[in-house]
């Protein structure tokens, strides 16, 4: 049953496109039945899971790579799956109202469904690689959602950050997961979780932990990677409510919680999580308190809560596990409600700037009540679910095994965070609903939205109150199953509002008292300068990108100059190294200089004229001189061929020489009159050295090959057999028509085809004569040596 749950969302997503039709809000609520069905399907599987068992399904996907589509449902997955589908139902319905005026709603909902499927895949995957595939799919689909509409001025920068940070983190995660798989020998979660001791003792353990944590921290916006999350808030509010509060950002937390029985229990894992999580929690809570944009405020409190969850995983123990599970649920409820409410306010008032809101209590009473409920849970006020969750967090801090210092620090951090939450909540409430409406906003008619739009935020807000009052028993079973998965052993969980007077309650109550007492100074606090603006990860990140860019540009500019001669130089140098090294290290073997005793003086003369011709070519002052000097080289080579009885070769060589000279003379007229070297002296010296080295190497190679007589030469065979078997006295002719007759036949065929090609070309030219190509007339004075393409 797990497959359908994941794939229904993915496959049904195109169905959402019908929401482009009118009556969009109605259609959206109709579409909300899809996630609702998934919610129901998940519940049907809940029975055995709550009894402490696992539902496992497996299909082999790519067995060659160890990729199996394993899906597992245990307590933790169940909790997440219920949150995803439950909140998803509300979000889909809510989006119908929020984007009701927009014909793109269908597309938006289709992406949302895709995202939901990906997210369900992450939490239900029983194989780390399957999970990774879905993990990346959440990034990709979230991108479609963020890109749907953007109203922040620096939306692009934010989006770039979120993609790069989560993308880079994803790669780190992949490597970490691969390492895990290598260590355990399996990519299945159940095998990895069973191999905890083996993993912790492995030499690659630290590397794997660091890489996996990098992936989780980036996804869940932990310091110092927290900066991408507020930047990604330009998504339409329904997407923010879903992605950035209840689902996507929690994927990192999910994975850490999932792996903690296998990887936890070491100082590296526990302390890192506790410290990073605690720091993120406190820092983001303080920053949140000082925001003026509703959504930014919620974004930072989300980061803070993600930090709190991370910290609790690190603190560990029974309460840590319980705290994580409870806080995930509590946070998902109140935060999705608050995001949707921010959307309602934005939708009705056209702004979500706290400085321009106010006095809405008269116009939007229903919205106010729901907001108040959600904020009470957010602030951790007794009898709300948020309070129950916060108590468990404090218990986790008090009962941790990580030592007294960390325990005290954690309790202090939680207290500070709780105070900051209260002030944030108060500022949000008082600036929106209390006071007077600002004159600027007076013109607009403001009203409570249609009831349909309030269902979305209303349900989770009311649940935040109902769970502790009425539903505590069933929720406790769910939490027990979830925390057992995090803890690694079965747990007995009994959530309660009242545990008697204990240290946790005292800390909690004093935080509330201090927080409420500070309400009066809330605005001063928000406006005060000199608060932490350090840890501007986005600045560092921007600079990093900039540096990389300049570095890459400089590197490319040096390498990719756009000039042919540079390319040839580098090729030649590399060739010298590659080919030269084996010869230098092993020697060229027995090179012999067999001097022909009957060497004639004209042979020496012809050979000597070749280097002279080369030097003359280089040194020539006029173009004509250079051409003549090159001609001398060619002629001498041809002469040598004649002298060593290879007249056919000599003929070919001469033909080529004549042809190339003719060509050179033909282009003479279009070449610039000036004939001088454009390169500086040292460039020429460098080139000379490379050329000489190249010459020595090539010459040496020729010599080595020529004097290598491991094999019988071919020539005697032809000499002996040409008269006997080929019946011809001219060996070359016999070779051409007899010994290699088929080659000649092939050559003739090729020539024929070439002829046809040329004929085709000629016909084409004739046909096209009336459309002469437009050419830029080239002036003879302009040197054409500069490449056109100088772009780097």
């Amino acid at each position: 049953m797990l497959y359908p749950i994941v794939f229904i969302a993915l496959v049904a997503s195109p169905l959402a496109l019908i929401a482009r039709l009118p009556a969009r809000s109605l259609i959206a609520w109709g579409l909300a039945f899809i996630p609702l069905t998934l919610f129901g399907l998940t519940l049907t599987q809940a029975g055995p899971v709550l009894a402490g068992e696992q539902v496992v399904e497996e299909i082999s996907w790519v067995p060659a790579l160890g990729l199996n589509l394993t899906f597992t449902l245990d307590g933790l997955s169940l909790l997440f799956a219920l949150i995803i589908t439950g909140i998803g139902t509300l979000i889909v319905g809510y989006a119908g109202h929020y984007l009701g005026a927009d014909s793109g709603l269908g597309r938006f909902l289709a992406y949302l469904m895709l995202f939901m499927g990906a997210m369900l895949g992450v939490v239900l995957a029983g194989n780390v690689l399957t999970m990774f595939v879905f993990w990346e799919l959440t990034s990709v689909t979230s991108y479609l959602l963020i890109g749907y509409k953007h109203d922040y001025p620096d939306a692009r920068r934010g989006a770039l950050h979120s993609l790069l940070v989560t993308g880079g983190g994803g790669l780190a995660l992949l490597v970490g997961l691969l390492l895990l798989g290598q260590m355990v020998g399996s990519y299945e979660f159940r095998d990895i979780l069973a191999a905890g001791d083996q993993l912790r003792a492995h030499s690659l353990y630290p590397a794997a932990v660091i890489l996996i944590l990098l992936g989780c921290f980036t996804k869940s916006a932990q310091i110092p990677f927290h900066f991408w999350l507020p930047g990604a808030m330009q998504a339409p509010t329904p997407a923010s409510a879903f992605l950035h509060s209840a689902t996507m950002v929690k994927a990192g937390v999910y994975l850490m919680a999932r792996l903690s029985p296998a990887l936890g229990g070491t100082a590296l894992w526990d302390v890192t999580l506790a410290v990073v999580g605690g720091a993120t929690m406190t820092f983001a809570a303080i920053v949140a308190m000082r925001q003026f944009d509703l959504k930014a405020m919620l974004a930072y409190t989300t980061i803070s809560m993600l930090g709190a969850l991370t910290m609790q995983i690190g603190l560990g123990g029974k309460y840590g596990a319980e705290g994580v599970a409870t806080n995930i649920l509590a946070h998902a409820l109140y935060k999705s409600a608050l995001f949707m409410l921010a959307g309602v306010i934005d939708h009705e008032c056209g702004t979500r700037d706290l400085r321009r809101l106010g006095g809405l209590r008269r116009y939007m009473p229903q919205t106010m009540v729901i907001t108040a409920l959600a904020l009470l849970s957010f602030g951790g006020i007794p009898i709300m679910f948020g309070f129950v969750a916060k108590e468990l967090m404090l218990e986790a801090a008090l009962e941790t095994d990580l030592g007294a210092t960390l325990s005290i620090l954690a309790v202090a951090a939680i207290a500070v965070t709780a105070i900051a939450y209260l002030i944030t909540g108060w500022r949000l409430f008082s600036n929106t609903f209390l006071g007077q409406r600002s004159t600027a906003a007076m013109q607009q008619h403001v009203d409570d939205p249609t009831p349909g739009m309030l269902i979305g935020p209303g349900v989770p807000a009311i649940l935040s109150l109902f769970i502790p009052l009425v539903l505590l028993a069933p929720v406790s079973t769910l939490i027990a199953a979830a925390s057992a998965a995090i803890y690694g052993k079965p747990l007995e969980v009994k959530l309660a509002l009242w545990h008697g007077v204990n240290p946790a309650l005292l800390v909690s109550l004093s935080a509330i008292v201090i927080g409420v007492a500070m309400f009066r100074f809330a605005e001063q606090l928000a406006n005060m300068r000199g608060w932490p603006i350090w840890l501007r990860g986005d600045m560092i990140f921007d600079r990093l990108i900039e540096r990389t860019l300049t570095g890459a540009t400089a590197l490319t500019r040096t390498l990719q100059e756009g000039r042919l001669r540079r390319y040839i130089l580098i090729t030649a140098l590399t060739m010298l190294i590659f080919v030269g090294v084996p010869f230098i290290s092993f020697g060229l073997g027995a090179i012999r200089f067999d001097l022909d005793p009957q060497l004639q003086f004209y042979e020496i003369l012809a050979a000597a004229l070749i280097p002279i011709g080369v030097i003359a070519t280089i040194k020539a002052r006029t173009r004509l001189g250079a051409i003549i000097a090159v001609g001398v080289v060619g002629a001498m080579v041809a002469l040598l061929f004649v002298l060593f009885s290879a007249p056919d070769l000599a003929l070919t060589q001469l033909l080529i020489e004549v042809l190339s000279t003719v060509f050179l003379l033909l282009v003479f007229s279009v070449l610039p009159v000036r004939f001088e070297s454009f390169s500086s002296a040292w460039v020429r010296q460098r080139d000379a050295i490379v050329a000489i080295a190249m010459g020595i190497l090539m010459g040496g190679l020729v010599l080595a090959t020529a004097t290598n007589d491991s094999f019988a030469p071919l020539a005697p065979f032809f000499l002996e057999n040409s008269l006997d078997k080929g019946k011809g006295a001219n060996v070359v002719n016999v070779i051409l028509v007899d010994f290699r007759g088929f080659d000649t036949l092939g050559e003739i065929t090729v020539l024929f085809i070439a002829l046809l090609g040329i004929y085709g070309l000629l016909r084409l030219r004739q046909g096209k004569d009336d459309v002469t190509p437009e050419r830029v007339p080239t002036t003879a004075t302009e040197p054409l040596s500069e490449p056109v393409n100088t772009q780097r």
């Binding site: 996907w61 790519v62 060659a64 790579l65 990774f132 990346e136 799919l137 990709v140 890109g147 953007h150 692009r156 989006a159 770039l160 993609l163 790069l164 993308g167 994803g170 790669l171 992949l174 990108i545 990389t548 860019l549 570095g551 890459a552 540009t553 590197l555 490319t556 500019r557 390498l559 990719q560 042919l564 540079r566 390319y567 040839i568 580098i570 090729t571 590399t574 590659f578 080919v579 084996p582 010869f583 092993f586 060229l588 073997g589 090539m698 190679l701 080595a704 090959t705 290598n708 491991s710 078997k725 046809l756 085709g760 084409l764 096209k768 050419r775 830029v776 056109v788 393409n789 772009q791």
Partner: protein, 489 residues
Amino acid sequence: MDALTIPPVDLGLIAPLLVVVTWATGLLLVDTFFIPVGRKKLTGYLAIAGLVVAGLVGLPLWGVSGSTFGGMVRLDPFALTLTWVFLLIGILSITMSLDYLPRQDIEQGEYYPLIMFAVSGMILLAQGADLIVLFLGIETLSITLYILTGFAYPRLTSEEAAMKYLVLGAFAAGFFVYGIALIFGATGSTRLSEIGAYAADRDLGDTNLTLLLGGAAMVLIAFSFKAALAPFHMWIPDVYQGSPTPVAAFMSVGTKGGALAALVRLLFEALPTLNAYWLPVLAGLTALTMVVGNLGAIAQMDVKRMLAYSSIGHAGYVMLGVMVAGEQRGPEAFIFYILVYALSNLGAFAVLIALEHQGEEAWQLDDFAGLYQRQPLLAVAMAIFMFSLAGVPPTAGFMAKFYALTAAWEGGLPWLALVGVLTSAIAAFFYLRVIIRMFMTEPEGEPAPELNRGLTIDIVVAAAGTIIIGLIPAPIFALVERSAVALGG
């Protein structure tokens, strides 16, 4: 006197190659004499038909292994699968040219047979078991490409590109021939298997082995040049930018696939015993290629140039599979990567073509601004290609990269796999930048022309392939597994 005996030639083993070559030759004639100017699309359709027929002719050859022409040409599942991949590359390239050529006013009938000849060169490279045949394949491929590069005459950049490519290509070809000569001098044979057998019997320090090493180094340089491994990659950006876009697309996957297919055979049939020498060298080149290609791509604001650099980077990833082709995973990863890269990259180039107006270059990043709002389907397709090239699941690119990295890791080159992962992180930056432009910014400038049929087919096929292979890779994996068996032995 002995009767003249003609060595037995089994033309069946080169049936697809034969079909491509004869069809192309025939098409050249048909085009010249029967197809009027202005209706040259017909030639294109006929060329596609020829490539399809060649692919079909190959079907009964599946599972056949054998060599002919005195052992110079070999057919095995490895070659056959690559043949199909190359035919697909040819078909996609021609499809995207159908609309491009008339729009740029450079439509001429011989374009299509030229592409077919280039494909035949690639097939020959996959089938060649002899250095001479490999040289023949390389030159068939290169010479047609020199012409195709300059096909946008009289555009100056196109001419410049062709010139640069020709000069450097001839340089590399010179190395190849010289290398063959040295190898022949050292071992007395140009047959890959015979060279391998010869080298296996010799100890180091043997003069002939030294000569063989030198010759092999030269041949490797020539292959590195064709496959654009750094530092022999420099022609790529200039040439890709200058040449007609479909040609650049074809080159980016074609030369790489052909040259590296031949390299696999060369390394593991002729030089397996010398791998202590070439492995570190090639590993170094591969690492350098991945770094240079991906760093270079970051600096580009021109998407065509960016894709050129990215193709250098991808050559590095393909090499991961090539170097460990001695293990079963290696050739598998190689074939799979080539196929996936071909789909994604040809798709990306097709999108580039779709954005080009007549005679205008629309390759700047800003030309992609707001594409999502204007042509959502085009933008989504481009996003799929970019994600695939960046290696993000669930696209095929992820599977391919994962496969290649796993192959390298298991094949004893973990450090190189690590370099691959790191450079992938860099690569993500520039691919995603295109996506951001498309989705996050307001459109500017004129809207792109309407999509026409050939391009639409191309883009849809490529995008669908990229996604489907990413989601259900098992059948393709099964195919490449069976193709690699022959080589592993």
